[in-house]
Amino acid sequence: MIRLHNVGKEYPRTGVALSHVSFQMKKGEFVFITGPSGAGKSTVLRLIYMDEKPTHGEVRVSGLTSRSASRHEIAMLRRKLGIVFQDFRLLDDRTAEANVAFALEVTGTPRAAIPPKVNRALAQVGLASKATRYPKELSGGEQQRVAIARALVNDPFVVLADEPTGNLDERATRGIFQLLRDINAAGTAVLMATHDLDLVRSTNARTLEMNHGRVVYDSSESVESVLELEE
């Protein structure tokens, strides 16, 4: 489903961001990517939703390869991905339901099909009663739920969450994490980048630990095997 093979990423100004990163993610899996700031977690996610292309190696997502993906193919791929960020990235001048509907409108969903899908997504994240609220009228945790509803509304096969709890207090963090677990339990894969080790330790989900742009630990394999793969 998602496969990174010997991926490297270099930026002209800041240098090497990723080096020899290889891993695969299966359908329906829950995977954490952990590591300190600057370890390369967000870069891995950006490469997966093909916001950037690797300098070396190959990223393959749902049959689409980074080597030959066109802008149109990338747009089509993103309709099958749900992407969530630390800072929610909602449109402040639209209500919660309008923010969720936006993802359907701009991808050409028929008008009549939009309201039921939006209602279902908001209900799924527990915000059906606050559908007409604007982002500023919602708490941080609620805003992140709206962002997750927007990510879910197109029925993605994977949710890519980049530090989704980074701006939240402990209670909201638990709520969002549980929501992502529920989404995963319903069959959608989740790839979550976080530096919250308490969260990681609270489950037995697969963990990829990154440092200095490399995967230094994959809980599904031994460290040695990862390093061997890199060689």
Binding site: Y49, R71, H72, A75, M76, L77, R78, R79, K80, L81, I83, R89, L91, D93, F102, A103, E105, V106, T107, G108, R150, N154
Partner: protein
Amino acid sequence: MRLALREAFAAFRRAPLLSALGIVTIAFSLFAFGLFALVALNIRSALVAVEERVEIRAFVAEGTSVEAVAAAMGDIGSFPEVAQVLYVTPEQALERARRELGEFADVFESAFLPASMDIRLRPGFRDPATVRGVASRLSTYEFVDDVRYGQEWVQKLYDLRTLATVTGMGLGVAFAAVAVIIIGATIRTAVLARSREIWIMRLVGATDWFIRAPFLIEGFMKGVMGGALALGLTWLAHRTISRNFIETVFFDTDVALLGVLVGALMGFLGSMFSVGRHLRQV
């Protein structure tokens, strides 16, 4: 398409001041363009009036028979370039000279001026080469003493016309380019103001054309509105000049509509370049 239209209209509602600024900027750049076009149009129209006075005069030798002149006039009148041939007797020539050179009227006391055939050419045949060609054919008649057509004057008139056309086109293209750049800049401001929205659109899988469409429509509409405003301002300028200084001509309806359409096209192109550049960066 419906969403693109809705988003384009929403852009006016969300940022009315920015939109108004964009329309006024487009209007002023097109107004400058329109003013110049108006000047060029009036120069051209004045030149056409002057051009109508291009005339070839073939002086007839003294003692030539009326029959010979009449036969030649029939012959000359059938030239495709010739619109009219008039025979001017020595008496008529004297009368004309007295009329045209009033202050020297006393000098002209007797019919010493020769008779002539005055030839006017059809529109499209008044260029120096054609005039020269007709003149040289006239000089082949044995009874024609001399042919005058203000060779230098015709050449200068044509040079002036060519200069006005080339300058008009050059400045027109320059003004159009400036207008496209200004429109591009105003749309770019709108694009930057909505960069978060564009980013989210890309994130959820909107295609580039889908993202571009509202901006292209917005640019088109701003171009139409700016063009209409510029047309109104140019008309006002035309009326003011006509009322207070000299009578001027204004664009035909077709040309005026074409001007607004050019505005719309510039708005569209400005948007296309601007959004295209932004999309390549995000």
